[in-house]
Symmetry: C2
Subunit: 324 residues, 2 copies
């Protein structure tokens, strides 16, 4: 089934301990769409300037991504400049030039209206709400946000949170949104604000899902949390877009399945981790342009291998059999 994503299509200037890249293609919608494109059809809503050339659009269209919803405006595209230190777990933003994004008003092409899955990437919650309202019949709505909107646009964000089936945020954002430091209580606090399900991303430690109650089709009978691992990586070249790639793998897999079940939701968290792990291997969108379906399945199996006990053969015996 088709995913409609609204978010930034941008240029990033990135500095990490592995080097520097000037104005490479980026933006939340770009990373999300590339990751999701390995699982299902993706349609993008965004705005770009005159610096967005056919070669940039080809990055998306080569993956079969529908770009008819990317509006062209006079001026320059959104441009973000950031740097990562040694630990690479947080970017230092050096510059945010909104450019054509400053006056963006999302318009949904008629050809997109039958999209069944909606993803509201990290943009102004006012725009997220506008798009959500124009797509009343979607099957599932998933969204992202960030510290800036949580801190300074709380009232607008509150409206969006009530519109979401699934919210994807990180630990810090969950703590900010809820005012709780304990992550389980933070999750409960966030769920009380509206979303039916919550995925909290822990960076290099994986992700945890939490559910409002068992009525959400991705929740098991007692709506228990679920923990998916991340791959221990010896080399992170560029973390930019890792969270959006996680979201693309997660939501792309959900949209590719005939039915949303607890098991599908759990596997989606694994595919999220898989796509995030590819994204950081190279600068910008490089790795997500070149990954193959076979590599994705191979890495999914690796995620299982490094996190699962051998429950089938039960070869190790059980503590209950042992002494003491």
């Amino acid at each position: 089934m088709s995913i409609l994503v609204v978010g930034s299509v941008a240029f990033d200037t990135i500095e990490t301990p592995h080097g520097r890249r000037e104005r490479c293609l980026g933006g939340a919608a770009t990373h999300f769409a590339l990751a999701a494109s390995y699982f299902t059809d993706v349609r993008v809503i965004g705005v770009v300037g005159e610096d967005f050339l056919p070669e940039h659009e080809a990055v998306l269209t080569n993956r079969g991504i529908d770009t008819r919803g990317i509006e062209r405006a006079p001026g320059l595209s959104f441009h973000w400049t950031g740097a990562y230190g040694g630990a690479m777990n947080e970017a230092k933003t050096l510059g945010t030039d909104l450019n054509v994004f400053a006056t963006f008003s999302p318009k949904i092409p008629d050809a997109y209206k039958d999209s069944e899955f909606l993803f509201l990437a990290n943009i102004d919650p006012v725009l997220q709400a506008q798009v959500r309202s124009q797509m009343p019949d979607v099957k599932l709505v998933c969204g992202d946000t960030m510290n800036y909107w949580i801190a300074d646009h709380a009232a607008n964000l509150a409206v969006v949170l009530k519109m979401l089936d699934v919210l994807l945020i990180n630990d810090t954002e969950a703590r900010m949104l809820s005012g709780e430091t304990n992550i389980v209580r933070a999750a409960a606090g966030v769920l009380a604000l509206g979303p039916k399900a919550l995925v909290i991303k822990h960076g290099e430690y994986g992700a945890t899902s939490f559910f409002c109650d068992r009525s959400f089709p991705g929740a098991d009978s007692v709506a228990k949390p679920f923990r998916a691992p991340a791959l221990p990586l010896a080399e992170v070249v560029d973390p930019t877009g890792a969270g959006d790639s996680f979201a693309g793998g997660f939501y792309g897999y959900l949209a590719s399945q005939p039915k949303l079940t607890p098991e599908v939701f759990r596997r989606a968290l694994f595919y999220g981790g898989v796509m995030g792990s590819f994204a950081v291997e190279r600068f910008g969108t490089e790795r997500l342009q070149s990954v193959t379906r076979e590599e994705i399945e191979e890495r999914f199996n690796l995620f299982v291998e490094i996190s699962h006990l051998d429950l089938v053969s039960n070869g190790a015996g059980n503590a209950a059999d042992a002494g003491a």
Copy 2:
């Protein structure tokens, strides 16, 4: 098989957002021994003062722990005072009164000499090395350390690291020991210092094992890392001793099994998380005194449930079957 543990038996004065406890029984060897006692026989080497009363010893002997190696010395027992803030992930040490521990010289009773598993809890590496040298025939040696020894006793610690089969430390300690920020490279750096296997504890995010090479019997054929989850807990009453309880569950399970295999090693990581999750539910050793074997198995199953896909029925289908 029997575990011999050497480490602190102490009193802790603890303040957390849930309250304050004065001089409750604590110490690394105490938490470790209690956790391990649910899996196998445990023998303790340590020193206590005149304030260590029969009621304190009974906490250990009630769990069948052998206390004949706990030496009595004139004066007071080791006393630690610490406080935890809202996030509860790091203790602020307010006082460390070594007391009888300052002049501790471990002596191993003859009755302990046939112990097959040795655990060197977090104490002066000089003492760790002394005990290791007196137990040349043990089957497996596992040890712990902390920032203080890493920073100020590096040469002594280097000697111990070469004596270890398994080292258990946390993220910060692994980074300090190796000088690497990336955790996979940090693990490689630590393994180069001597231990054959390394377990890095990530607090609320679980733990990861790393192996020097495939010659370690707990490593799989390519010595891949393995990630075990932690339980998302809504209430952490007192984190004191969580790491030692993890070590006790981990090593106690290893010692309870007839053979060390990769699957046994993986399950041991799960049991470590299980015992750590119990430890933090109440102050001091309270919870580890009262937990039952049934509760341990129940929680082990819960750890599996919140981290494992349903690979048997494969009910959700596979991304390779889906569109795009």
